[in-house]
Symmetry: C2
Subunit: 318 residues, 2 copies
């Protein structure tokens, strides 16, 4: 009997998502960072995303509750940023064992509320239920000027591939990045408003898992330059910084593509707008969707392994 | 150390919800069946609700997966009906153990998709994560003509209290009501469009738990006629049908109040529009919020106990 473990999250979603009913106003259905809904007569499109945050998967029993609440909201904010939009409204489903100390729940909600204030969001409500583990399920709703959401599917051959910030090590001891990351909201809006990005997503499961999703959506390949991939301080302290940058996940940086004809204009405008946040060119989109290689300087080109984090598959502890 | 078990869901929510950040466009925040958002320039208000559906809480391991998917959607539809609105879009967070048979997940999604088609909904997407128990977290979004949503807070002294259908026994052996119920979508719209209902909610945790929520929101009391409460066929087969009608939960009928001056007009219009669905008058709203009594014909009046289902509190098996 086949189980989820046998097929993993990617194949599960590939199987399930195309069969789900849609409606005419749904401009982008399942499969991107957010769904996009276009209501007739509205100047804005609406963006919808959900994110689970589960004890022992996304945080530990000893993680301070306020940081768990913050992380839950920040993940949804990052999904909206990954379309180029502005988040507005949050719903929260809480699951908790009956023996959960009240102080922990208060801490969670204090973290949710503080994060909502930070990003100017309303928490519309939600529901609570008893369950075996502590979980938050966050729904985020955002807006973006009509027709300007940047999808994963827009990358064209020759487009240059960029990432913001530095990658890897979000879960390494002493690194709180997976709890304290800053969703790239202003950067996402900049990329959408200025129409620089042809494709855009956020990095939640690691470059090696997420880039193939962008390539699949765009039906393209890639030439990735290993030496160009920006390594986080935490990753650089390890024996295998590149492995961490490719596979750890929870970077919540933006991954995007820019047409080569806009390269100079984009890089100048970026530096002016984000002097403290690097946007690093790490590769180039190829026409052939089967060509997906990681190039080492003066060394071999290896196939880009679909590593990174995938739910249900057997994987390293995180 | 206080835990959730010590305070229960009602007190938890009363404590947490008022402190959550809001935004100016949020017309109704946490605490009603749906939140209501009023976007400037839009002819419709937007309705938002979330519902968890958790194995061993809302369904059993042996429950057919298609019915679980149906139930998850139907709960969200019922919340939108309880405002008088029309549901449009659904998001689904799936949590499942890695050992879950693929066939069960397929069944769940077949149930979700069939229910979405039945109520003309789009499934916008969602997320999946590994966890210890099978869970669906559903977000439902609906619309309603601007300013016409019927809240829990509108009941006035003298208003008559009605319920649709019959109550109790949704979980009794041989009764599949909690899986097969029909959300009262047309009835909810009728009550809102025709402006008959002064207050409206759906019955998810049992009349004895839900009516006090309407009374709290309206700051009113009630005189409830025990003999008038419509008993389901399943409840009538038991030794204590009234107890089941008050406390079982998952009826997903509508509970609403109507001004006495509209009584005749309402009852005539209802019978014409819903010849097969009774709307039964079960009591009257009182001015004093402390007076909440259940009257027995020729017998005693007993205080309306806040029974019914509440998460986290110790309760009967369901």
């Amino acid at each position: 009997m086949k189980t989820l473990r046998d097929i993993g999250e990617n194949r599960l979603l590939r199987h399930l998502l195309p069969r789900l009913p849609q409606r005419p106003e749904v401009a982008v259905g399942p499969g991107d960072d957010c769904a996009v809904v276009r209501v007739p007569g509205s100047a804005d499109d609406w963006l919808f995303t959900t994110d689970p945050v589960i004890e022992r998967r996304h945080f530990l029993p000893e993680t301070p509750a306020r940081l768990v609440g913050r992380k839950a909201i920040a993940r949804a904010v990052s999904d909206v940023a990954a379309m180029g939009g502005t988040p507005l409204w949050i719903l929260v489903d809480l699951v908790a064992p009956a023996a959960t100390p009240l102080a922990r729940i208060r801490g969670l909600y204090a973290g949710l509320a503080a994060a909502a204030r930070k990003w100017d969001l309303a928490i519309l409500g939600g529901d609570t239920a008893e369950g075996d583990a502590l979980e938050l399920h966050i729904t985020g709703v955002g807006r973006i000027p009509r027709g300007t959401a940047v999808l994963r599917s827009g990358a064209r051959p020759g487009d240059l591939v960029y990432v913001t910030g530095a990658l890897g090590g979000a879960y390494l001891p002493g690194c709180r990045h997976h709890l304290a990351f800053e969703p790239r909201l202003a950067a996402g809006r900049f990329l959408a408003e200025r129409k620089f990005a042809t494709a855009l997503m956020d990095l939640s499961d690691g470059l090696a898992a997420d880039l193939p999703r962008l390539l699949d959506a765009s039906k393209r390949g890639v030439r990735l330059e290993a030496a160009a991939i920006p390594l986080s301080r935490a990753a650089r302290k390890t024996q295998q910084p590149l492995h961490h940058a490719l596979c750890d996940g929870e970077d919540f940086e933006l991954l995007f593509t820019v047409s080569p004809k806009n390269r100079a204009r984009f890089e100048t405008a970026w530096k002016r707008s984000f002097p403290k946040l690097p946007a690093v060119r790490i590769g180039e989109i190829l026409a052939d969707p089967k060509r997906r290689r990681l190039h080492f300087p003066g060394g071999p080109a290896v196939p880009l392994q679909a590593g990174g984090y995938q739910h249900f598959l057997v994987h390293k502890g995180r």
